[in-house]
């Protein structure tokens, strides 16, 4: 009986320990490879604390190709966020306020990126554009509509959960009875109350854009993931160092989001804004 109790107590901790090793060990190995100037063959325990350096990462960060690709990715991410919020905020509000029967249809449309593979999307859409507006595909911003489609499921769900947590109809009616016009209701009541959902949607969209490879590769755009894939051949240590660096940055960003979320859930009483998995 005592043994059973001991196993019952130790098992959850063991499980967590295994999970940590499973996720952290590759990252640590990656860090050693990226930041230790020691031949891979000599990466034993005896050299654990020797010759650590961030030179590889700095070299990569100083590479003009890197800053160019980062700038392309950030610009594309920015416009994707704008386009998506511009499309999805009114759509989600409309579905909740005026057309609840259409919710199922909108939800189905938003999960299309899961069903249609990126390659089919690119081949279909680029074929159309090549014949009617070839200049569009030449621009880096041609990625924006594709990425908007890819990030649509996250944006819709994030907004949907945020709106469900509000008594939307009453808030809109209350604001209108106090003399607010429709645009005033949107700016002074709805958007401030959906702040957490909007931030969530924006960060998830940025994550999708910063991690997307297939479409950028098919359209021959020099985005950050494309640069990293190419740099792995040229300067593998620097590229992996950059990968870790981006991972740390993304983690910090998401920690900030969750702090804002917690702060907001205290003041706005929004429960459980959860947007699902991070790609």
């Amino acid at each position: 009986m005592a043994t059973m109790k001991f196993i019952g107590k130790i098992w959850p901790r063991l499980y967590i320990a295994i999970a940590i090793v499973f996720f952290v060990a590759p990252l640590l190995s990656m860090a050693r490879f990226a930041f230790q100037r020691i031949p891979v063959i000599s990466l034993g325990r005896e050299n654990l604390f020797k010759r650590w350096t961030i030179d590889g990462l700095l070299t990569t960060l100083r590479d003009p190709e890197f800053s160019h690709s980062l700038s392309v990715s950030l610009k594309v991410a920015f416009f994707t966020v704008i386009v998506l919020l511009f499309l999805m905020v009114p759509t989600t509000l409309w579905v909740h306020l005026s057309a609840p029967r259409w919710r199922g249809v909108v939800e189905t449309v938003t999960i299309l990126p899961y069903v249609v593979p990126p390659i089919a999307l690119v081949v279909g859409v680029s074929g159309t554009y090549r014949s009617i507006a070839p200049w569009f595909l030449a621009s880096n911003y041609s990625l924006v509509p594709f990425y908007a489609i890819l990030a649509m499921p996250f944006t819709f769900r994030s907004l949907d959960v945020g709106i469900k947590a509000l008594d939307l109809r009453t808030l809109v009616d209350a604001a209108k009875s106090l003399g607010a016009s429709s645009s005033r209701v949107m700016w002074n009541v709805l958007l401030p109350n959906l702040r957490t959902s909007l931030i969530n949607a924006a960060f998830l969209t940025i994550t999708v854009v910063l991690g997307e490879f297939t479409i950028a590769s098919l359209l021959l755009k020099r985005t950050l993931p494309m640069y990293m894939a190419q740099a792995q051949g040229r300067e593998p240590q620097g590229a992996l160092g950059l990968g870790l660096f981006i991972l740390v940055l993304t983690t910090i960003l998401f920690t900030l989001v969750s702090i804002i979320r917690k702060k907001d859930s205290k003041s706005i009483d929004v429960k459980n804004i959860n947007v699902g998995m991070v790609p």
Binding site: T170, D173, A174, K176, S177, L178, N193, R195, I268
Partner: protein, 318 residues
Amino acid sequence: MSALDFVKVSKSFGEVQALVDFSISLEQGELVSLLGPSGCGKTTALRIAAGFEIADSGSIHLESTNIIGLPANERKMGMVFQSYSLFPHLNIRDNVAFGLKVRGVRNEERKKRAGEMLDLVRLSDLGHRMPHQISGGQQQRVALARALATQPHVLLLDEPLSALDAKIRVEVRDEIRRLNRDLGVTTVFVTHDQDEAMSISDRICVMNNGKIEQIGSPRDVYNAPATPFVAHFVGSINSLPVGDTRVLIRPENLELVNPDASAQWCGTITDITFVGAFTKISVLLDDQKITMSVLTISAQFEHHLSIGANVGIVERKS
């Protein structure tokens, strides 16, 4: 001149007729309750007045101006909802000042007016708090202050007490009555609770199936119900056989007597419920198998009451 006039307002949702030729005039400063069961059309009438629903036909006049085509934000009406409708991202003072802000009132003036309104509902200490930091009763009082801050011509209250517990409900109800009297603002109060309507209203408009059954003072509606529906919906009533017909008599107008020749009806006590101020007694009539309720009247008689006892009932002579 009436403050608010509904003239033959009708509204359907698909096959359902929510409101049929609804007409009523409210005098300046009057508090009128729309009373009826769920689905009787009372909230629809209020939402049409507020501009949140569009009437199929009819008109609404606010101080003789037809407002039926005006959008909700131009109607100069304040509204309080059943659910606490305070804006979660604004503190209490900013909630109260919201209507003034959208009307372009300057910051200093806004603050002053919001402070005055919070004084009016006796919550001036809570201006800096967020809505979730105050109780439901306080939230509804803030919602009242917010609706009144813009000095509306008419105050619309959509079951504002339904979400509150019994004790707080009475407090907020009294607050509404006090504000209506002090400020003289014409008020439409929607409720399904007859006690609420009786205690707060100058007049009650009893509704059923989208139609008005009766409009009158609480006393008239209770003592002289125009239809059997009103008689049954407002207060308790017994339907008792007299010859070939039936008469409707309120429990407090019945008296228990010995089951002898002087009794108009005789029966057996099936239940005795002590309710505090009075005792409710259910009696099964000998020949009609009808359960009814009466109020105990004489303390002497009360001692003899027990379940299964035979009693006589007479109508009290007023």
